[in-house]
């Protein structure tokens, strides 16, 4: 029996504080849930406990012994086993090789024994209820759900003192999730301590003895009796008091009426992880798209921008069906769909080129005469955009990489403003941006809407969606849910849909609502 104590652990990535003096106490032999919004610090906590990263400050003790992990190997040796969300399986190796790695059984001292490794794997798979998986199968050939199960068995089968399950059900169906719960109960009976990181409240209720709620890298609450705490109370803890943020005034929602023709629509759109999305975006409307990580919203944006193949369904611009084969088609289409990508360094900006070149990139045709760029006209246009966005005129000649993340983001939006895009696809534009720039971006979004443009706006920050959008739709497990409108738009309502609390039946012992 092993108790876990995390004391005042702080982890910073540059200016971002991922964990801020976090404390956790987990009693021996219990299953402890860790819940929180995106960016609350859950995954950083998992990384520290598994030895993938070292905290800047603070200490960690397992069973009363203080430990410090320099590498995953150290954590393994201390009896910590982790089933990672992103899976630590090697796709090109067999299930057996993955399970035995890096200590594959040997004979004659040096040669590894495939037969023993296979027998061990078969035994472990059978013991933990996965008889159906052939240990010789390469992991690459397994379904995503089976891979996740193998990842979990790989951790469980080592009989760990501490088992960490990081979003273990993200790829599992109901039957596989039930399988997981059964195995975790068995493991607890053997005396292991389990940390269960999840955003699905019903699962935390079903599985955990206690739960900690994280927000902004701190623990904001411990729920010692999950049966006596309602979903609403937990959601309130996750959101916290609304911070005083400077949000612009929203125009009265009445400005968007149903009789105006939608400028952009999708019907049953499927692409990559997106299974089905239908929506209408009206003129002058800001439509929010909410969703936890990997619920399909990224593929929705990429498909609308022509960057991802559409597998089914249609996209309509001004009521006409369109087909975007490449982003170039999307930009050129009458609508001018524009994407501010999630990772601006990789997909959004040419960091070594000047702000001027970046801003005029999609519209440079307008400033050319006989193939030569008319730099006077270009300068005038760029200056206007820079002034509007309150960016220093340095951007006329300095490379984008010389500017802060917030200013880079503004320049990316500026290039689409200049190109005359009528529809803006904004994918988490305020990520990693300081608070002042954030409020400028909100204002810009509302200004664009006021000018008659339309905005599809995804954010991981629910408050932003509540305060900036006219309507909000939630992406959950690849499906876009019905829009939330008017006074219905609240962080509680959105988060509830994001967590699937609205449609997932609560377990019998749950007393919420």
């Amino acid at each position: 029996m092993t108790s876990i104590k995390v004391s005042e652990i702080t982890k910073q990535y540059g200016l971002t504080v991922a964990l801020n003096s976090l404390d956790l106490d987990i009693s021996a032999g219990t299953v402890h849930g860790v819940i929180g919004e995106n960016g609350a610090g859950k995954s950083t906590l998992v990384k520290i406990l598994s030895g993938l990263t070292r905290p800047n400050r603070g200490s960690l003790s397992i069973g009363g012994r203080e430990v410090a992990f320099d590498a995953p190997k150290d954590a393994r040796e201390a009896g910590v086993a982790v089933a990672f969300q992103e899976l630590s399986l090697i796709p090109d190796l067999s299930v057996a090789d993955n399970l035995s790695m890096p200590n594959k059984p040997r004979r004659f001292g040096w040669l590894t024994s495939d037969s023993r490794s296979r027998a061990d794997a078969r035994e472990a798979l059978a013991e933990w209820g996965l008889e159906g998986i052939d240990p010789l199968t390469p992991v690459r050939a397994l379904s995503l759900a089976a891979r996740q199960q193998v990842e979990i068995v790989g951790a469980i089968a080592r009989d760990p003192e501490l088992l960490i399950l990081d979003e273990p059900t993200s790829a599992l169906g109901q039957a596989e999730a039930d399988w997981l719960f059964e195995q975790v109960h068995r493991l607890r009976e053997r005396g292991s301590t389990v940390i269960f990181v999840s955003h699905r409240m019903s699962e935390v209720r079903e599985l955990c003895d206690e739960a900690s709620v994280l927000r902004n890298g701190r623990r904001v609450g411990v729920i010692s009796s999950l049966t006596e705490t309602s979903d609403d109370q937990i959601i309130e803890m996750m959101i916290g008091e609304t911070l005083d943020r400077i949000f612009p005034d929203k125009l009265p929602a009445a400005a968007v009426t149903s009789d105006s023709k939608p400028v952009l629509s999708a019907r049953g759109l499927a692409s990559g992880g997106l299974r089905s999305a239908s929506f209408d975006l009206g003129q002058s409307e800001v439509l929010g798209i909410a969703g936890l990580q990997d619920q399909g919203q990224r593929d929705l944006f990429r498909a609308l921008f022509g960057a991802e193949r559409v597998a089914a369904g249609v996209i309509e611009v001004d009521g006409e069906p369109v087909k975007f084969k490449t982003p170039r088609d999307a930009i050129r289409s009458g609508m001018g769909i524009s994407l501010v990508p999630e990772d601006r360094a990789a997909e959004g900006a040419l960091l070594e080129m000047t702000g001027r070149a970046n801003i005029t990139l999609p519209s440079v045709r307008r400033f050319t005469r006989l193939g030569w760029i008319d730099s006077k006209a270009e300068t005038a246009a760029v200056t206007e955009v820079l002034d509007r966005l309150q960016i220093s005129h340095r951007a006329l000649y300095e490379p984008v990489e010389a500017f802060s993340g917030g200013n880079q983001q503004k320049m990316i939006m500026g290039k689409w403003i200049l190109s005359g895009s009528k529809t803006m696809l904004l994918y988490d534009p305020t990520r990693g941006v300081d608070i002042k720039t954030k409020s400028e971006i909100y204002r810009m979004i509302r200004d664009l809407a006021a000018e008659g443009k339309s905005v599809l706006f995804h954010s991981t920050d629910i408050e932003e969606l509540v305060n900036v959008c006219d309507r909000v739709m939630v992406c959950y497990r690849g499906r876009l849910q019905a829009p939330i409108v008017g006074d219905e738009i609240s962080s509680g309502r959105i988060l509830r849909e994001m967590l699937g609390a609205a449609d997932e039946p609560l377990p019998a012992k749950g007393t919420a609502r």
């Binding site: 399986l89 090697i90 090109d92 790695m101 594959k104 040997r106 089914a312």
Partner: protein, 344 residues
């Protein structure tokens, strides 16, 4: 359905055993051998087979070394410079070991391993991209070869030549023996824990790290073993040519990578095997013999060879993409029942 399940299971078994990477290269070699048998008189005479083995050996053994690096997820451009360096080192520095060929051979292998380990240190610990690190080493070593001797020349004992480039027994070519030894060393490596770690690091080094695999040490070992194979190739090369030559051969560089590709090892890491690379090298030799036999001007062999290479890699390049597209289409083929019901 059951039939299909069974056959795919069998395929998995083969795949795990490392066979299917060899199957395509065996097929290619087989087809080429049939053509060769058709166009050449006495194609499979002892003499001709010995000849094939002799012209293949250096390339095949170099390709085995390169394969280890490619499986680890890198590229090693220093290989041919290592060959020239060790060749000139051997010819000029014999005096150092009192003209003992046995000691000299051991020394060559040791130096080869050290050079490889240095490559591995640059890539694993200093995190320099393998292409850059090994090109830098390429310059250093080809310069070193010129320092040992600035023109081709020198000579070695004919006993050494007949031991490593002659025949063992009556007619078994020593070059074939060296290829077999190389293949054996590789098979033992592959069966060791290092072998599993090598594939793991090349397939997904982050996941391997999270599983507790010593990633850096594995990379150092991968390049060091590659060095060992280059060393064996250098012994064979020196014995076969009987002299020293400081010039590096870029044709050999291209052929080495071609042999790896034809052998079924995929650039990017994690998949493939060195036995295939030996078959790939043999295929190249047979192919050249065919062109020679039909009287093809040797200037043009490069053109034909280049196109052949493209044809060989095309299925590997396009296949996964096409399969993915097909699967993506199938996944979404059925319209979503929920959505149909609620369509606006």
């Amino acid at each position: 359905m059951i039939q299909r399940l069974k056959s795919s299971k069998a395929a998995h078994r083969l795949q795990v055993a490392g066979v299917p990477t060899i199957v395509p290269s065996l097929l290619i070699l087989g087809v080429l051998l049939v053509i060769y048998g058709g166009v050449r008189v006495n194609a499979f005479s002892t003499f001709n087979l010995q000849e094939l083995s002799n012209v293949t050996a250096t390339l095949a053994i170099l390709a085995v070394g390169q394969t280890v690096v490619v499986i680890s997820g890198g590229f090693d451009f220093s290989a041919i410079a290592v060959l020239a360096f060790l060749n000139t080192f051997m010819v000029t520095q014999l005096g150092m070991v009192g003209d003992s060929y046995i000691l000299m051979s051991a020394l060559v292998l040791l130096v080869a391993i050290l050079i490889g380990a240095l490559n591995g240190f640059l890539v694993g610990y200093l995190r320099i991209q393998s292409i850059i690190a090994t090109i830098a080493m390429f310059f250093v070593l080809s310069g070193g070869a010129l320092a040992f001797m600035n023109t081709p020349g020198g000579g070695i004992d004919s006993g050494f030549t007949s031991a490593l480039a002659g025949t063992w027994g009556v007619s078994f070519p020593a070059s074939a023996g060296m290829m077999l030894i190389t293949a054996l060393i590789w098979i033992v490596l592959k069966k060791s824990r290092f072998g599993t770690n090598l594939y793991a690091v090349g397939s997904n080094s982050r996941a391997a790290y999270a599983r507790g695999v010593p990633v850096k040490a594995t990379l150092v070992k991968a390049y060091a073993f590659a060095g060992l194979f280059y060393g064996i190739a250098a012994l064979n090369y020196t014995a076969a040519t009987g002299s020293g030559d400081p010039r590096v051969s870029f044709v050999l560089l291209g052929q080495m990578f071609a042999a790896v590709i034809i052998g079924g090892t995929i650039f990017g890491g994690g998949r493939g095997g060195a036995v295939g690379s030996i078959l790939g090298a043999l295929s190249l030799a047979v192919f050249e013999a065919i062109l020679f036999s039909v009287g093809f001007e040797s200037y043009y062999t490069g053109i034909v060879f280049g196109f052949l290479l493209l044809v060989v890699v095309l299925p590997a390049a396009l296949g996964p993409h096409l399969i993915e597209r097909y699967q993506a289409n199938r996944r979404h083929l059925k319209p979503d029942p929920v959505e149909e019901g609620t369509a606006l």
